[in-house]
């Protein structure tokens, strides 16, 4: 499950004339202001016979069965806490959450992702887990460190990791065989990758097959190479852009070189037909993509010949990690019950159940075997091993705003129409402008 990207949302055809011009104007005024209550971070374990009704907000319908199984177990412990699972599709989840947060009517417990977390944490809309950690109800050491970091502001953690995804190098071994190139190994370097990509493109271009694809989005491509080159997207304290450093530029240059050398389709080809489609149609030798691609790969007619290896090494080994977490609303009327559920969902048993039933990699260390076993012929273990060298998905207080500048400026650098250093410098400048606004 790729949880960090804005999906297409649809505004339906407007009916008639001026009336809808007015409608646009009316849209902005739709939300009105109010002030929030300050979160305390207090926690005391709920009595087993606590009676309450709480709402659990999430966006992925495919995980509802696993969530319901969790809640059934939870009710064995707390029989009088009634949990309503409230599923809002991804498209409307964030706009709705924003409205709910504004009017302090957030679900008691809900899913949070990296790019949006600091907006809510910084505004005091969600409850820190400080009390639960102090009471030993939750131990952050059980989850990948990078995920804990993702949900921490100024040393205070707000979310309990629920699942995660990391990035690997998916490859089509049949294409490698036909091109006479050795398949990727976990110790590949950037040079090995480049050489293989060019070799495949060279020998199979007559069939429209390319070696690899890259550069369309951060999470699956350039964030990884930036980290591998030793650079950063944003400084650790989230106040400064990392795009103007030489290391970060090297991470971007990687993709420009790949496209220029013919190892990848052009940026235009990739915007017309997304990389995952090239790959699952057997037109691409290698694809940088997340653990969530397992489903798409399994449905592909090339499923039998597809495998996965760790990402190639640059200056260092690195991948981006992202995961969803459970957070308690600061405005919750039944905070104790919500925290009881948050604690329960953080447990090894609950996460094991998620892994067994769900389509995700659970975050609790040692519960990942079910995911690894889900495709015996594919080396899915690389996604779990990647947590050892994974870096948190780069975020700040207003992530979406500088993400828009990445989408605007970087493709020109990858296609070669603007020099990489020039694009990176102007991106850093604009991004710093956004970060300074806070």
């Amino acid at each position: 499950m790729k949880n960090t990207f804005p999906r297409t949302s649809i505004v339906r055809r407007t009916a008639l004339g001026l009336a809808s011009a007015v409608g646009i104007v009316a849209l902005v005024a739709g939300c009105s202001s109010s002030t929030g209550s300050a979160p305390s971070g207090d926690y005391s374990a709920a009595d087993k016979d606590l009676t309450a009704e709480i709402t659990y907000g999430l966006w992925d319908q495919t995980q509802v069965d696993a969530v319901n199984a969790n809640i059934e177990e939870f009710n064995k412990e707390y029989p009088n806490i009634d949990v309503n699972v409230n599923v809002t599709p991804w498209d409307s989840y964030w706009p709705k959450l924003q409205t709910q947060a504004t009017s302090n009517t957030l679900p008691d417990l809900f899913w949070m992702n990296g790019p949006n977390f600091q907006t809510y944490g910084g505004a005091g809309k969600i409850e820190p887990i400080t009390g639960e950690v102090e009471a030993d109800a939750i131990d952050p050491a059980n989850y990948p460190e990078a995920l804990n970091d993702l949900y921490t502001i100024d040393g205070v953690q707000y979310g309990v990791p629920k699942d995660y995804d990391t990035i690997g190098l998916w490859y089509n071994s049949e294409i490698f065989e036909r091109a006479g190139v050795a398949v990727p190994t976990d110790d590949w370097t950037w040079e090995d990758f480049d050489a293989a990509a060019s070799a495949i493109s060279d020998s199979l271009s007559s069939e429209g097959i390319y070696g690899a694809a890259g550069g369309m989005d951060g999470q699956t491509s350039y964030y990884n190479t930036i980290f591998q080159a030793g650079g950063e997207v944003i400084s650790d304290d989230g106040t400064e852009s990392g795009y103007d450093s030489a290391e970060t530029e090297a991470g971007l240059q990687f993709w420009t070189d790949l496209i220029e050398g013919g190892g990848s389709p052009s940026i235009q080809q990739l915007s017309d037909t997304p990389a995952i489609q090239w790959f699952t149609s057997g037109k691409l030798g290698m694809l940088w993509s997340g653990s969530w691609s397992r489903t798409a790969v399994a449905e592909s007619e090339f499923a039998d010949v597809i495998n996965v290896a760790a990402l190639p090494h640059g200056e260092e080994q690195a991948t981006v990690i992202h995961g969803v977490s459970n957070v308690v609303a600061a405005s919750s009327k039944n905070k104790q019950a919500a925290q009881a559920l948050q604690v329960f969902l953080a447990s090894k048993a609950a996460q094991q159940q998620q892994g067994d039933l769900g389509a995700i990699i659970p975050a609790y260390t040692g519960t990942q075997q079910a995911f690894v076993d889900s495709a015996p012929n594919v080396n899915l273990q690389v996604f779990v091993d990647a947590t050892e060298y994974a870096k948190p998905y780069p975020v700040s207080g207003n992530t979406a705003e500088w993400n828009a500048f990445e989408t605007e400026l970087l493709p020109d650098a990858f296609s070669g129409s603007v020099p990489v250093d020039e694009a990176a410098t102007s991106l850093a400048e604009k991004m710093n402008g956004v970060l300074a606004k806070k």
Binding site: Q98, S271, A404, L410
Partner: protein, 314 residues
């Protein structure tokens, strides 16, 4: 209840009398207002009041979760210095211009469909109207496949006649053209239906007279059909311009939010959306909305002024 019916009866009686209607309406007091209240209340609450609010918010800066601070004209100063406003305006005008080319086409097709004795006329009418009924998103998805640079049918057909087609939806310039082509295609049906209704109102005697005078079919089209159709054309023109200025869904769905071309092919409403709902800068977005509102207002007023010169209202 009885009172109201008698009132209505008496109003009718008065309306048919030589007395001016205005006086009668004035004497009816609050009754007419009571009947329009449900509609008026809804419009005031959901349209007029938000406009007032938006106007106010365009002078403020918003926090993500509400809470606004008054910043005076700062949003407008920033907006008029923002190159994106002008590029969005340019794109919107380009789109509108191309979509307007559909009106002459629609006039021509409508008059063809109006040919007396044409077989399957209703079938053709349905055929042309279907694109308008289809969801823009569905339309966009189909066209996206047609426009695909490597595997699309359009470029395949072009390649048969030796033309190497561009990457329609991912090349700056071509992307707007692609969106406009789809916009024209899907608005054709609506314009055509309005115009066809207008054609039905042209008395057949005029055609007979013209024919007796020896007018060719083309002459009949330019001297009878077009002049008598101007009120319908005027209506279609206004509707097309207004809906073109609101270009958003088609652009968004056809190009896709991750398309690198999108920032260069933004329409005014997309610009509004990206500021208000992606960057969460709602005060600034309110200012953009006010500008769109004013532009559409000016264009519409201008058209009503100019219509006297060319619209035949007899």
């Amino acid at each position: 209840m009885t009172t109201s019916t008698t009132r209505i009866r008496s109003t009718r009686a008065k309306a048919s009398s030589p007395r001016p209607g205005g006086a009668a309406a004035r004497r009816d007091g609050f009754w007419p207002w009571l009947f329009v209240l449900p509609l008026l209340g809804g419009i005031s609450l959901f349209f007029l009041w938000p406009i007032v609010q938006t106007f106010y918010y365009s002078f403020t800066e918003w926090g993500v979760f509400g809470g606004s601070t008054f910043t005076g004209v700062a949003n407008y100063v920033r907006l008029f210095a923002d190159p994106q406003l002008y590029s969005a305006l340019g794109n919107t005008l380009l789109y509108t211009g191309i979509v307007l080319l559909g009106i002459p086409i629609a006039v021509y097709i409508a008059s063809l469909l109006n040919t007396p004795g044409l077989r399957f006329a209703s079938f053709y009418r349905v055929l042309f109207f279907l694109p308008y009924v289809a969801m823009p998103t569905a339309v966009a998805m189909v066209w996206r496949i047609i426009f695909n640079g490597d595997f699309g049918i359009l470029n395949y057909v072009l390649s048969l006649v030796g033309i190497d087609g561009p990457y329609w939806t991912s090349t700056p310039g071509f992307a707007m053209l692609a969106v406009a082509i789809v916009g024209l295609w899907s608005s054709l049906g609506f314009s055509m239906i309005i115009l066809a209704a207008g054609l039905k109102n042209i008395p057949p005697e005029l055609y007979e007279a013209a024919e007796l005078d020896g007018a060719t079919p083309w002459r009949r089209f330019t001297s009878v059909t077009v002049p008598l159709l101007t009120p319908s054309i005027f209506f279609v023109l206004i509707i097309t311009i207004i809906s073109s200025f609101q270009l958003f869904d088609l652009l968004y769905a056809l190009l896709g939010s991750a398309n690198p071309v999108l920032p260069k092919s933004m329409s005014l409403v997309y610009f509004f959306y990206s500021q208000g709902f992606v960057s969460n800068d709602k005060g600034y977005a309110a200012a953009i909305a006010m500008v769109i509102f004013v532009i559409i207002g000016i264009v519409t007023v201008l058209q009503f002024r100019l219509q006297k010169r060319w619209v035949n209202n007899d």
